[in-house]
């Protein structure tokens, strides 16, 4: 596990969740709160091992619900599911282009509120939902896509900055020695 990177990601999750709660401008202008956790989880799942993803899902969901009227750990399962799916498909996902990163972030931003809402309704809670929720959902999709464009390079940079990188080999690592099978006989 990349310990330093994991701790740094947890700090980023804590600060961004707090900032989303303390900064009321999006709520005043758009009528919706912006959730930084889906894009953060997406960017994390593309670069870190499953243990970091699980730790982020647990910590982020519990700290977020500490600031909210949500039931404790409401976003735990949605965040972990997102991280798990992205992580096991990370080699198949096109995430090196800005457009594809935005699209992935938007999908993450669409998925988490839907799963959270389903969990709320399954646990017999009465959340405040109406036609305006569709606008809030659309804003969540858009903001999540945009935030992914910030979080992806941030996590990439953190990974390179706080984790020990393998030293460059003094020889050409792209060269492959192919020997005839008789060589082994």
């Amino acid at each position: 596990m990349k310990a330093f990177l994991t701790i740094t990601i947890l700090l980023v999750a804590l600060i961004t969740t707090y900032a989303a709660s303390a900064w009321s401008l999006p709520l005043q202008m758009l009528g919706t709160q912006l959730d930084p956790l889906p894009p953060l989880m997406l960017a994390t799942a593309l670069r870190t091992p499953i243990t970091t993803i699980a730790i982020l899902a647990i910590f982020a969901s519990l700290t977020q619900s500490a600031l909210s009227s949500d039931p404790l750990g409401l976003s735990l399962l949605p965040l972990y599911t997102l991280g798990f799916i992205v992580h096991i498909n990370s080699h198949n996902l096109l995430h090196h282009h800005i457009g594809s990163r935005f699209a992935l972030g938007a999908i993450a931003g669409a998925m988490i509120p839907l799963m959270s809402l389903a969990l709320l309704l399954l646990t017999n809670k009465e959340p405040l939902i109406g036609w305006f929720s569709l606008w809030q959902w659309a804003a969540s999709i858009l903001s999540s896509g945009l935030m992914t464009l910030i979080f992806y390079p941030l996590i990439e940079w953190l990974d390179k900055s706080v984790e020990e990188q393998p030293l460059a080999a003094p020889f050409d690592t792209t060269t492959t020695i192919i020997r005839h099978r008789r060589f082994h006989e």
Partner: protein
Amino acid sequence: MNRRPYLIATIAVALLALTCFTLSPENSARTKRLFSSFYTPLFSAQKTAQTTSDYLTNQVIPRKTLLKENNALKRQNEILELKLRRLSTLSRENRILRQKLKMQPKPEWNPRLSRIVGRDPSNWWRSIQIDLGSSDGVKIDMPVMANGALIGRVQEAYAHRSRVALLGDPICRISATIAETTETGILSSCGGTIYDPTLAELLYLPAGTKARVGDEIYTSGFGEVFPRGIHIGKILALENTSGDLTTKASVKLATNPSLLNEVWVLMP
């Protein structure tokens, strides 16, 4: 691919999620309190930043403006003191009359100013965080006011912070009275009010209600959670379907909580 870490992580997350959903409300609140302590340095930093910003703003304001404002406030203070004296006399008179009629004395409320330090990060609820907590005497269900009107009640009290459920939140249902007709209903939320934080619904009014659009709404004092007569808002529209036993009213709340920075907590 080594599947073991995936299996362990998935089982751990599933078990934790199950534990969270089956926790009792008390244990859930305790765990939330524990995790909210992670934000303590951030709340402190925000408070310091705000204090510094206020100090710097005060330094920048010209002396002439401050003197002008000071004079205006002095005049306003004198008028308010006169009104207060008159109200104190009336209050004393009221107390004596209540004693003579052998009625219960009305509780006194001490308002305490508090700053809003955060809003609910999710869109499903209307709640705010304030910088007064149980160490300051804040208790669950205490009324919270702003601009002379009720805006909500304390939902959870931590050591140095509290969460306030605002009017229009599904959790914050209160009994309200229409001043003109003295009819009582339950102020609640519905999906149709989500786009505007100053909208709520007054449910369970009588079918043949005499209430009119524009009538003022106050707290009823039933249940003894809130004192009677705190202003809430006014009726925006009435909806009565024939055959229904009750009438529903749309209410425009007197204060928009999303524009506030400070609130008053009413302490006994």
